[in-house]
Symmetry: C2
């Protein structure tokens, strides 16, 4: 398998497929045979970019690949897997790229299956820094794992074997540090916008808050009125937020959590 090129079909041409396809296509050990999307425009555009074939129906997917990568929406993985299983032989390895989806969705259809999960939030118009993106891998067999490890290790400097349980935990944690954090940015932007204060002034602080925990524990980096028990500032903020009921409740809950955390750890 190392001597010959790995023949890959990539299913899904969204944010993950778009960027992962380019990264895989650049590897000397890969022959990216075909991309698939039910949206013709997306399939065609990515196929053109990668100089490969494309399909818009599962029964037109090339059945002769070594590896099928399902980079479709979480909610579509089950259906695509079921259709694909009726179409390809049992020899191929089938993986998905989802952090949220258990491997069972593949296990029930394919003898050879695995996980190929780049732990990053992708945007179509922003080139990802692949060498720094952790790849969380798993596979049913050692041989399959080694293949995935070779591919991921050629794209990124960070590769980890992560089983279903660990991946589910990472995904919950990712919701807190990514989705919920972004929501807090939205709250900050909204508070500024309503009062005609430029939100841009807070962007360097947002960057620094993320940068600071790259080498230190977030627990040790906590600052602010709740962490230092500054009752008068907490009162002033709470009064200001009175008219914004949703934000006040959120402010209260997060403040209580931080106070509690520092009571335990401080």
């Amino acid at each position: 398998m190392i001597d010959e090129k790995v023949k890959i079909v990539l299913l899904g041409c969204g944010n993950v497929g778009f960027h992962l396809g380019q990264a895989l296509n650049a590897l000397p050990q890969v022959e990216l045979m075909q991309v698939f999307s039910r949206t013709r425009q997306k399939a065609q555009a990515l196929a053109q970019l990668l100089d490969c074939k494309f399909a818009t129906q599962i029964n037109r997917v090339n059945p002769k690949a070594d590896l099928y990568i399902l980079a479709v929406h979480d909610s579509a993985i089950g259906l695509v897997a079921r259709e694909l299983a009726q179409h390809i032989t049992g020899d191929a390895l089938v993986v998905h790229t989802s952090g949220a989806t258990p491997s069972d969705v593949l296990r029930k259809h394919f003898p050879h299956f695995g996980i190929f999960y780049p732990l990053q939030s992708f945007s179509i118009d922003k080139k990802p820094d692949f060498p720094s993106i952790p790849f969380c891998l798993d596979a049913h067999s050692e041989e399959a794992f080694l293949l995935l490890e070779d591919l991921a290790g050629s794209i990124s400097t960070q590769v980890a074997r992560i089983d279903d349980r660990q991946r589910a935990i990472l995904h919950v944690a990712a919701v807190f540090v990514n989705n919920f954090t972004n929501y807090l940015y939205t709250v900050g932007a909204d508070i500024c916008a309503k009062e005609n204060v430029p939100f841009d002034l807070l962007k360097p602080l947002i960057n620094e808050t993320a940068a600071k925990i790259q080498n230190k524990s977030p627990l040790s980096m906590q600052t602010g009125p709740a962490a230092r028990g500054d009752a008068s500032t907490l009162k002033r903020h709470s009064d200001f937020l009175k008219a914004k009921t949703d934000y006040q409740a959120l402010y209260k809950m997060l403040t209580e959590r931080i106070v509690e955390l520092y009571r335990k750890n401080g």
Copy 2:
């Protein structure tokens, strides 16, 4: 004032004073006369670094400066201002560097007062990137404002006139995007630690989440199960968090907010 050097006394040798002192000291138009801290070790160390005098008692502060910068803790600004007012003449300009403290605390003691607030979170062991740090300024007079603007504009590329009301709003917003965000990082780290999953795997995602909103609105960048109404993932996460009561309530509140936000805006 532009022809002669601006004589400055810096009060407070904590994180802000330590870095701001170095930035000011590097300016050709500044003569940093003296630093003050009640902690002799801190005062002495910074004075040595800046090659200037130091004081550990307010009545030993040089009364002949043009500008006194109070970079002491929020809770100490009132006391230091009161003591300083009994000691210096009314000609000097007195400013503080706090985001949370109204200017009244200076107004009642000094005819010439202002705000010199670098909007960033400083750590003693991390050199700040001053050119990118927004300076939020205010002053009682145009002349005083121009002096502060000249200094801040020589340190940073971002200078804004921000009154007390706007600064208070920025500070509330900063608590959401900095302190509360850091708490969410702590939650993520704690969830990972308890389950033996390396939190390091999430650090590139944390950086990217902050980087993404530097040029786009956070509202447009929201992803995740709550934003896309993915009930089965929300249910799975909620089940996982059942044993972690605090986190489950926080997960629930933040999820409800995001769902509500997308119902309104989506």
